[in-house]
Symmetry: C2
């Protein structure tokens, strides 16, 4: 029914006030908070307590703190960074396995592909085609550019998510993608046939999106995720 009434911790109150201002839009990304010595007067608290509050806000990714003249707390706005970081911690703590990630990602990438196919504009398609060409170029340029290929691949997945115009798909996919790519780099053998297979999947996917075939797009995306997860598992990832 009720949660335990927490003892009032002053810094917590300060955190909530500033966070609320950011979430509600009163403070926008790029805005600068007054220096600590002024803020502490505004809240009528000591500098130490204020700094604990700023530390929490910094940890949440809501502000960035710079030293020096004209330094101070700069508002950053909410980003996927924090979701990503906490998920990363979970994975390292072995609470989330590669299978868990893959299983989740199959549904997610499928939905994203299907919705993208329903909504992609000509601009979206042009952007995707551009990224595909860029990836292909890296692939042809040889081994030392394959890192760039992988990064472009991730970029394409994100671009597809963006054509859904649903911030949830975008942020969740960004988080999962980022974490999957950590595995990618460690466990996917960097061999040309595999990268070519990867690229061909993407080409097929974008073609399906362009042709407005949601079901086909979903199937291609899900197959792709399944196949590459299997590749990684063969490399001995638990």
């Amino acid at each position: 029914m009720f949660r335990k009434a927490k003892q009032n911790r002053i810094f917590q109150d300060v955190v909530e006030q500033i966070q609320e201002a950011i979430v509600s839009g009163k403070l926008k990304a790029g805005d600068q908070l007054p220096p600590e010595r002024e803020l502490k007067e505004l809240f009528t608290i000591s500098r130490g307590t204020l700094r604990e509050a700023l530390r929490v806000l910094e940890q949440k990714g809501l502000i960035e703190i710079r030293t020096g003249v004209a330094g101070g707390s700069i508002v950053k706005g909410v980003s996927t960074q924090q979701v990503s970081e906490s998920l990363d911690l979970l994975i390292r703590y072995k609470k989330v396995s590669l299978q868990n990630l893959a299983e989740f990602r199959i549904g997610l990438e499928g939905d994203v592909a299907a919705h993208a196919a329903e909504r992609a504009t000509a601009d979206d398609i042009a952007r995707l085609r551009g990224l595909i060409a860029k990836a292909a170029a890296y692939l042809d340029k040889g081994r030392e550019h394959w890192d760039s290929f992988i990064r472009t691949d991730e970029e394409i997945h994100l671009a597809i998510a963006e054509t859904t115009h649903n911030p949830l798909f975008i942020s969740v996919l960004a988080t999962i993608s980022h974490n999957i790519h950590t595995y990618y780099e460690s466990y996917l053998p960097m061999e040309e046939p595999l990268l070519r297979e990867n690229h061909q999947d993407i080409v097929n996917l974008v073609t399906a999106i362009e042709s407005r075939r949601p079901d086909e797009a979903r199937t291609i995306a899900q197959d792709h995720v399944r196949r590459f997860s299997a590749h990684m598992e063969q490399q001995g990832v638990r």
Copy 2:
């Protein structure tokens, strides 16, 4: 290529040392850290700096801090709590709409239902049946217990997510559910037929899960979400 080399902040070093000890298992959930006045000696830092470090660890959900004799920092281990909280912040900040949430939830609840049907144990089913009976009782007890019905309904959705045994499904669904229920309470008319319809959906869903019919479970879950989102939209939610 490289990230900017951050200036060494002492509290950051302390955070990393303690976090590493937790993630690597040297510190386990339930373990108690020495009191601040001892810790500060161990790290040879001031109490203020130590407290900034503890604040960050607390914010990350890695420790819990209690006052009083025998209080102090208790290790909590890594949990999904932080993922949920940051995702929650993201939803509030990005002003994710009911449609955005519903669209995302359709795929998610479908996947969850299907995987639950594949994996549910006898215990899982018993638990779900128990919750369903509890919900039905609240429904029969009349209007003033309908709040409890709604809360039990959310509990059932979470219990289904838990039978997937995939922490990703669990924490993401928990977050989405929590946010959807904010809308629920504001926009869903509290009328008996609607609540009965809701309950019947859940009964059907659990039956499908019990009978190991993933596809049917997926369809029921998705229909349910679609129908109730439509109900809310009729109430004029953007």
